[in-house]
Amino acid sequence: MHELALSRAIVEAARRHAGGRRVTAVHVKLGALRQAVPGSLSFYFEVVAAESECAGARLELEQVAALLRCVECGREWDPEPAPLAEHEEALPPLPSFRCPACGGAGEELAGNELEVAWIEVEERAATGR
């Protein structure tokens, strides 16, 4: 449900770097721990972008899996369970933030990204038109 707010932040970051040029694509690294639903993010991005230089821009989402490292034993693991297929209706399995080997706490190595990695802009013609 926070995809609208995140979309606004993405569009704002893209605009700041576009320098007034029309933005045709925005590439975002999205970590799994941010709990943002990609489809929802794309939907809101289109709505928010429509009123800016990003209107019609393509949103490329690069999903980054979460990776935790146990502070006790050093084991690394992905806390995110495999997602259910679309047709499955059971409740999704739960994430595990405890080390599967020793039960220790995990520090986040990856998965917290909400990074605008690059944007693509249209350069104006040399004549300025």
Binding site: M1, H2, A5, L6, A9, I10, E12, A13, A14, R16, H17, A18, T24, V28, L33, R34, Q35, L94, P95, S96, F97, R98, A105, L114, E115, V116, A117, W118, I119, E120, V121, E122, E123, R124, A125
Partner: protein, 225 residues
């Protein structure tokens, strides 16, 4: 017309972070410690603040009330004769479901920072969006009522991991609920092993002293002006 790729490599929330740092500098200058208090709607944030304020002698508390609409909570706090500022996120219909650094910044001129030691920011009731937006606070705390179910930490890990204190409230209702408190505590442990946990009943007063002590502790992190 040709297209150019521009490397950005910037956190999308950088703009919010920049404003949060500006808020933080204002709080630092005034020597005010700030707690960002979050929860789902109806978990008991306002009541817990009321109970804390009633007994926090010697500490001057101010409250910034974030709500989509209205001033019901701010009116409650104002009865305790502490400075309270209402911050509505709704400019018309359908306001923001969280506070961000800029909204807090816009309200700061109304907050008497010079006359308080601790500012409690009561965020909009929501277990998702507020976790994303820092506002310049020293500490983030959340309230989770026992009526919400044991699985909340597993369903909203973003929020439970964002907070250093988790207050499990409404324990007076436990005899009436099929609720496994140990399972909730174990789930909190699983999701955020570093969090401090308090069990409270704002109604009966159970655990309220510890909640007050935690708030005083946050205020104590500020060097005196």
């Amino acid at each position: 017309m040709h297209r150019t790729k521009i490397r950005v490599a910037e956190d999308a929330l950088d703009a919010n972070q920049t404003i949060a740092r500006a808020n933080r500098e204002d709080f630092d200058r005034a020597g005010v410690a700030v707690v960002n208090l979050m929860s789902a709607p109806g978990a008991g944030k306002t009541t817990l603040l009321e109970r804390a304020i009633e007994g926090l002698d010697g500490l001057r508390v101010g409250v910034l009330e974030g709500d989509v609409q209205g001033s019901i909570d701010a009116d409650r706090i104002a009865r305790l004769h502490v400075p309270v500022t209402q911050l509505n996120t709704d400019p018309g219909f359908g306001g923001e479901c969280h506070l961000d650094a800029n909204m807090v910044r816009s309200a700061l001129p109304e907050v008497p920072l010079g006359g308080i030691d601790l500012l409690a920011i009561e965020n909009v009731g929501n277990l998702v969006c507020p976790a994303e937006f820092r506002v310049g606070e020293d500490a983030r705390a959340m309230v989770c009522a026992v009526t919400e179910g044991e699985d909340k930490p597993l369903k909203y890990p973003l929020m439970f991991r964002a907070c250093e204190l988790i207050v499990v409230n409404k324990t007076d209702l436990l005899p009436h609920l099929e609720f496994d408190l140990d399972r909730l505590l174990a789930n909190i442990e699983t999701v955020n092993p570093a969090a401090a946990v308090l069990t409270t009943s704002a109604r009966s007063g159970e655990g309220v002293d510890a909640w007050r002590e935690w708030l005083a502790g946050v205020a104590g992190r500020r060097p005196a002006r």
